[in-house]
Symmetry: C2
Subunit: 244 residues, 2 copies
């Protein structure tokens, strides 16, 4: 059963301010919660249906599990579906990653779903670190975590002063613009930072001035733009075909 206090906490963790105050975030849905067993994250509690607990006994051993009805879980959830389980997890302290290897930098990507999808595709292409401007979506927003489909445990997202980070890095910075060299023709270096802006504002000047290579995804039809997560995935594929 979910106690009143527990319900209050779960609800509170839907908000960024409360996540920060408690140092906790929510992981919801079967796939995402099961990923916790393979991650280094510290899990406080897992609330789940009796069925889910029974089916995943071995993966969940070692965690504090609390059985709850699907109705109660649905009430506690910040998502509309996929409510068989909710975990309360400590927000890890993430060290600012050294600028090395292949990385992603995000400027003003404010939609949590897009951020989550970028984390997922980054994980697919073996990218370990994302650096993000402070006005990007919160990496611990429930919608972000949900969209990562479990990849939140394998990719770090550091919110930081993006222009200084780019300024201090010695890597090439590949900035995605609507005009630039076609990614089909770009010779990518083995290490570098892929910089993506938001759909509405693109890469803003404070970050754009550190771009060493302007790149673009060639268009063949009538659409004016691509979703930022989609564009990130397509460019990563072009990068990885040269440097796996």
């Amino acid at each position: 059963m979910i106690s009143k206090n527990q319900l209050k906490l779960l609800r509170a963790l839907g908000q960024k301010k409360q996540r920060k105050a408690h140092g906790l975030f929510l992981v919801q849905g079967e796939k995402n919660v099961l990923e916790l067993a393979n991650s280094a994250l510290t899990v406080k509690q897992i609330f789940a249906t009796a069925d889910f607990l029974a089916e995943n006994r071995s993966e969940l051993s070692g965690f504090e599990c609390i059985e709850a009805s699907l109705d109660d879980l649905t009430k506690a959830s910040t998502l509309v579906s996929n409510n068989a389980t909710i975990a309360v997890v400590e927000i890890p302290s993430v060290e600012t990653p050294k600028a090395q290897g292949l990385m992603i930098a995000l400027d003003g990507v404010s939609d949590p779903g897009n951020l989550g999808t970028i984390i997922r595709v980054a994980d697919w292409y073996g990218i370990k670190h994302i650096v993000a401007s402070t006005d990007c979506a919160d990496p611990y927003n429930p919608k972000t975590i949900s969209a990562t489909m479990g990849s939140f445990g394998r990719v770090t997202v550091s919110q930081l002063d993006l222009p200084s980070y780019l300024e201090q890095s010695n890597l090439p910075v590949y900035g995605a613009f609507l005009e630039g060299e076609s990614v089909h023709k770009t010779e990518f270096a083995a290490e570098g930072i892929l910089l993506m802006g938001s759909e509405s504002h693109g890469i803003r000047e404070h970050a754009a001035k550190f771009v060493t290579d302007k790149i673009t995804i060639p268009a063949f039809g009538g659409a004016e733009s691509l979703n930022v997560a989609m564009a990130t995935g397509i460019i990563l594929d072009n990068l990885r075909r040269q440097h796996s």
Copy 2:
């Protein structure tokens, strides 16, 4: 002003059954409505704020425009945001496309947002026709239209008996599976059908048996899968780099 009867119609068109009965669908949001001016679709009415009508006077000339308050438009909208304008548009009669050129086939892709994103990325890569199994999301669902970001006017989606369509086509059918030849190494033909399945079920056997080439997006990290729209975009990029 939106009359009571008009409001009733707008609300009704949120449902598939009602769209079919009226032969009408909704186009919502500034970008999508402005695309109507460039499309061959028949627009019944455009409801919009005074500001939107004033700003886009030339694009909207020739349409029946009805001024409404943002409050009324928000009440009528089936979407949570982006409510400055709503258009009522006739569902066009789409002929089943001939199997030629590059096409996309979808098997059981039931999420309207995914379908809309696929339409958008298809348009980016110059694909004109999508054929979809009858249990795919409705191409005229407001969430589909919204996610296309205007591309709904340039790409046709035909819901049909997918296995027979694939059986009768003489094109190679590239089926996206988790195991198959890497799209980085595949030699694509100039004409062909890219077949995508749903995230939960993949390509089902009734369609899989017509696949001539199993392809896959190579993975370099820990994610188990990609979103179907993302995967479609990445494969189209690989196709187009060979045949533009």
